[in-house]
């Protein structure tokens, strides 16, 4: 802390007399710590980057998305190209992840599976988001009696055992890509609507909203600078966490025989198909889809946790 000051020569056992004069104030104020102010999103991104686990998840998901899109291009095998003489082959240079009981290439099928699993999950999360925004938004914005009724509905729906309802729906509608997404969103939007409503109620009470109404002109800026940071956090986190539960639900349904039908295969279907042969030592049949299901869920979970920490303005420090 000793700042450079005019070097005076005094006898060491004495404090120089000129030190007993009024201090120059400018020197002191220069010590004030200046902290760079970052915009909300930049700040959140900075904090997310510090979270190693969340970044691992994010990088894994980016690679997975790239592989789901381009993976099959690099493979010489067709997704449903049967090769019966080469059935249940262990992983080799020809078949990186081995083959299944029809001699189909597990590597190629894994990336097709990724497309389906990710598509189902992302579609479910997005539709949840839109329904949730509309329902929760209206409920929170209207308030009063409409809100009361809408919340009662939510309360009852929240008490339903979701997976049972999904099973019932799929039994009736028959399993397909569309019906699985529909079934998942019919039960899934409730959670999002609750969160959106909570956020809208919170916004309504902020004083800067009242203030912005009286100014009028600056509204877009206020929405961008104040409302979004304070409300989008929990919604984004909820979306991130919807994805792994949708992936789980889809795989789970496949196990009940309600998965997506051939020739396509989601990870869940691939894992389910592998069950009868697991005891005969064909581990790769189960390992690859199971690994990707688990790791994708893991990646989304840690990313969601990381986002939660990064986006919470109250933890800003």
């Amino acid at each position: 802390m000793t700042k450079n000051h005019e070097s005076t020569t005094v006898s060491p056992n004495q404090i120089p007399d000129e030190w007993f004069r009024k201090k120059d104030k400018d020197l002191i104020e220069a010590e004030a710590v200046v902290r760079p102010s970052l915009s909300y999103w930049k700040d959140a991104w900075r904090r997310l980057k510090q979270n190693k686990l969340a970044m691992t998840g994010l990088i894994f998901l980016v690679i997975l998305a790239l592989l789901a899109i381009f993976g099959p291009v690099f493979s010489p095998h067709e997704v449903d190209g049967m090769d019966l003489p080469n059935q249940n082959q262990p992983p080799s240079a020809e078949h990186l992840f081995g083959t299944d009981e029809m001699g189909r290439d597990v590597f190629t099928r894994t990336w097709y599976g990724a497309r389906i699993s990710l598509f189902v999950a992302l579609a479910a999360a997005l539709i949840d988001f839109f329904i949730g925004i509309i329902y929760g938004g209206i409920s929170g914005y209207k308030g009063g009696r409409a809100d009361g009724i809408m919340m009662r509905v939510i309360e009852v729906l929240y008490g339903l055992p979701h997976l049972l309802v999904v099973i019932l729906l799929l039994v009736v509608m028959g399993p397909s890509l569309t019906t699985i997404i529909i079934a998942l969103t019919i039960t899934g939007w409730v959670g999002m609507a609750r969160i959106v409503r909570g956020q809208v109620l919170q916004i309504k009470n902020y004083e800067f909203v009242t203030a912005s109404k009286s100014f009028g002109a600056k509204t877009p800026r206020i929405i961008r600078k104040n409302l979004l940071p304070n409300t989008m956090g929990p919604i984004i986190v909820q979306m991130t966490l919807t994805v792994p539960s949708a992936i789980f639900a889809e795989a789970f349904l496949s196990f009940l025989g309600l998965g997506i039908q051939a020739p396509f295969a989601s990870w869940g279907v691939m894992a389910n198909d592998a069950l009868p042969v697991i005891l005969s030592g064909h581990w790769w049949r189960l390992f690859f889809p199971a690994f990707f299901i688990s790791f994708t869920m893991f990646a989304f979970n840690v990313l969601g946790d990381g986002l939660q920490d990064a986006l919470d303005p109250k933890l800003r420090g």
């Binding site: 339903l160 997976l163 099973i167 019932l168 789970f252 196990f255 697991i278 199971a290």
Partner: protein, 311 residues
Amino acid sequence: MLAYTIKRFFMMIVTILIISTLTFILMHSIPGSPFNEERTTNETIQANLEKFYKLDEPLPVQYLYYLKSIVTFDFGPSIKKPNETVNELLARGFPISFELGMTTILVAVISGILLGTFAALRHNGFIDYFAMTFAVVGISVPNFVLATLLIQKLAVDYNIFPPATWSSPMHMVLPVLALATGPMAIIARLTRSSMLEVLTQDYIRMAKAKGLSPFRIVARHALRNALMPVVTIMGTMLAGILTGTFVIEKIFAIPGMGKYFVESINNRDYPVIMGTTVFYSTFLVFMLFVVDIVYGLLDPRIKLHKKAGDA
């Protein structure tokens, strides 16, 4: 407390009614009759079904009969299993599923709470990191993946536990482990974070300032408050475990209700699907009701009656 209980009870009835009605509508929206000839194997059953569900009557009447069958817990005969009713299947399968589910919940709750508590008490210590790594992995690995992994390693490779069926305590280890890990991880995480929050509360400092022993502070002052959030997720957790039994019973060839349910889905055995769904939903909603009441008992602030002289 009474008013609260009555309100919750009313909501439970409404929820059960909605599920039942939904099931009824869905089953009757299947083109043609859900019980037409191509699905059934047996003339007698076909006739029994038509009689049981009064398929010749108009829909509202059918609906009333259906509601009556729910209230009396009589779900009619199975299509695929001649000479068996859904009730008989439930009576045979549900006790086993119930045993599996309850064991799982006990294991998950006890070990989850212990793990979460110790993690919080040793915040940023070894146990904490271990517990949280375990938790995030446990949440991410689906139970069916874990189940097959356990069979492969502990049953096939090392032959420690039997790989399937449900005949001795040793047989229970793997399925319970597979089913309990996820909920245990969730409980551990939740307990840890709420425990960490509670431990910073003034009443904990107050308890320390009273010179109470650390054990007493945790057991009497911290745990009860920290477990409030855990109780609130018990309902959803129960639902997850119960539906989880479907898959686990299939993988381990356990003759519980889940196995019959999966079979009935594959065979489109509608009476069994309907009966099981309604039965399980009712069971779950009832458990949710119980959880709510327990929560009310744990937290004195929820009690709605107030004594005179309250500020």
